[in-house]
Symmetry: C2
Subunit: 387 residues, 2 copies
Amino acid sequence: MVRLGAIDSPPKTPTILGFECAGEVEAVGEGVEDFKVGDRVVALPEFRAWAELCAVPTKYVYKLPDEMSFQDAPAITMNYLVAYIIVFELLSLRPGKSLMLHSAGGGVGQAIAQLVRTFDGVTMFGVSSKGKHEQLATGGLFDHLIDRADYVNEVRKISPEGVDIILDCLCGDDCNRGYGLLKPMGKYILFGSSNVVTGETKSFFSVARSWWQVDKVSPIKLFDENKTLTGFNLRHLLYQQDGSEYVKKVIDDVFGMWKDGKIKPVIDSTWALEDVTEAMQKMHDRKNIGKLVLDPAAEPKPKPATPAKVKAKKEKKEKVQSPSTDEEKKVENGTDKPAENGSGENGEAAEAEKPKENGDGGEAKPSENGENSAAAETNGDEKKQSS
Amino acid sequence: MVRLGAIDSPPKTPTILGFECAGEVEAVGEGVEDFKVGDRVVALPEFRAWAELCAVPTKYVYKLPDEMSFQDAPAITMNYLVAYIIVFELLSLRPGKSLMLHSAGGGVGQAIAQLVRTFDGVTMFGVSSKGKHEQLATGGLFDHLIDRADYVNEVRKISPEGVDIILDCLCGDDCNRGYGLLKPMGKYILFGSSNVVTGETKSFFSVARSWWQVDKVSPIKLFDENKTLTGFNLRHLLYQQDGSEYVKKVIDDVFGMWKDGKIKPVIDSTWALEDVTEAMQKMHDRKNIGKLVLDPAAEPKPKPATPAKVKAKKEKKEKVQSPSTDEEKKVENGTDKPAENGSGENGEAAEAEKPKENGDGGEAKPSENGENSAAAETNGDEKKQSS
């Protein structure tokens, strides 16, 4: 969505994309005490995560458990952070409740479904494109898999009175359709707006339409109908609403659940940085199940030697990567030796080859995770980062 | 509010008011197995609770714990039912959260505050008219008592960033003012609309104004701001949305908490049925702290012998009580002996004289609670009740 400019206040181009990365701390800013060079960390910077080196204020940096690989870290952190807040903070799950989840095959969707399964007796309707149902069924997380093409009618067939909870990362007209499916005492949680992305490029009209399509709701209507509407936007919480302390606590809990074996990250596929356009296209086409991970240590796929295609690829690649060198110099504070791209430990690289889980999961922003990919900056350095 | 016609679909007059009553079962309908004559019960009928005899479908009737008096029962059941659902179902309280409660001196307000206090580390702002602050302070439930005249500024003075939770039973313009006080990840819960009642009689304009005043909210605004809007309306849940099974479970839990000493009902005052107009006036003027209870066994206050006043009182009384005889005959199924008004046991009447708690609490609908006041009808008899 950032690539298409389909978010509020997108960064000025040229820029580096990416909200999540894992690696070792390469340098720390003045006064930083919580981190030291060599610490294994995951970070949630506001953009620029897809660089070999990335300066991040310490409030967005989190130490990794020793046992967590750089491939697992970005498949866990943001997805399960979102899922944890939704499941444990915004819902009150108990036996007998029913829940409908959009984008059930996505990385966040898979994380939510896993966390919901820590409660007994909740009926889960997973909505996704028909093509993913067979693979999703093997995960065994959902009671009912529903085709997104006609989900309102399909859910009504199984549960005529509707559902107790709807988790929506689509927005647009789906808000109105979903609201009608809510039972009394039901909760509608809007936590994404992926419907905004409809075409190949940013379209003002598709953005505007998906905004206009959403009906405003009077609190009195909610009062009459015994319903709850919730919006949850992690990006705003972190970068605009000073929620970093709260997020840090949640990530502690998430890592604890991972250590206890309650969380099993779902990685769709791992990609070399050079193949990012192909990875993005797969996500854009909603073909992934689980997270896509970018690994600077991975070998790029061999490309067919068609001159026209090579040229097109090169241009796209430059759009994403060319500004990175300048940015890095700024944030690296003099560490101007070339970043050691591809120098990941063999053990790590090998781990990235293994399939992590039995094949479920999907979506969300890919993240770099080679060695040296995250550097903790001083607390007071936010201005530097955004310079 | 029913008296003023300020609810949706008010009953046709003449009618009998009242949503809550306690007493012994006088008769049961055909096929009723859960209740027998003589059972001590509390009931939540849709109107008509202020009669000596009241027919109620069994789904709205709840057995009383042996130790619970007929005076305590109506001070507990509806108030704590509402409070329980709000506190345990709609909020996710944990240490560090802050909460602002409107009508803190009301019966529901007092019940909510008690239940919130079962959680550690929650900061509570209680909003009420200044005149009640001294008495409310003795209860020790609130961290801050706030004057309702200027609550937005008063709360901002203490907590410039606002609060995490707002519990609003007022509606109208207070919805908009309160929403602005919410922190990110905050929850606004609208569970009443007492602002609709502004004058002595029903005013179409005051009703309409308090509706128009409430701004509609886009789910996208909630998404941008990380906020939750909830409506909760027990009356709709019970009588229109088939929530009776759920409510029965909650009442079980509430009675359990009462047995464990976690719930201490707050009774403002107890009134003879003949003094109902005076009781209603006190509530209308927001002068009560805790519940007002109507007791058919209580002696009416001596009235000054001014002929004009007596006449006026008599007319008002007739408005409330005259239709009761007809209704009762219908629902009593042949038990046409006159209801034994005032035949409450001495023990009960004596208990009603004692102050129940140390003086906090308030609001909500008064309820009859003499002997013989609730009769359980068969499950299939809802039509009969509304005939």
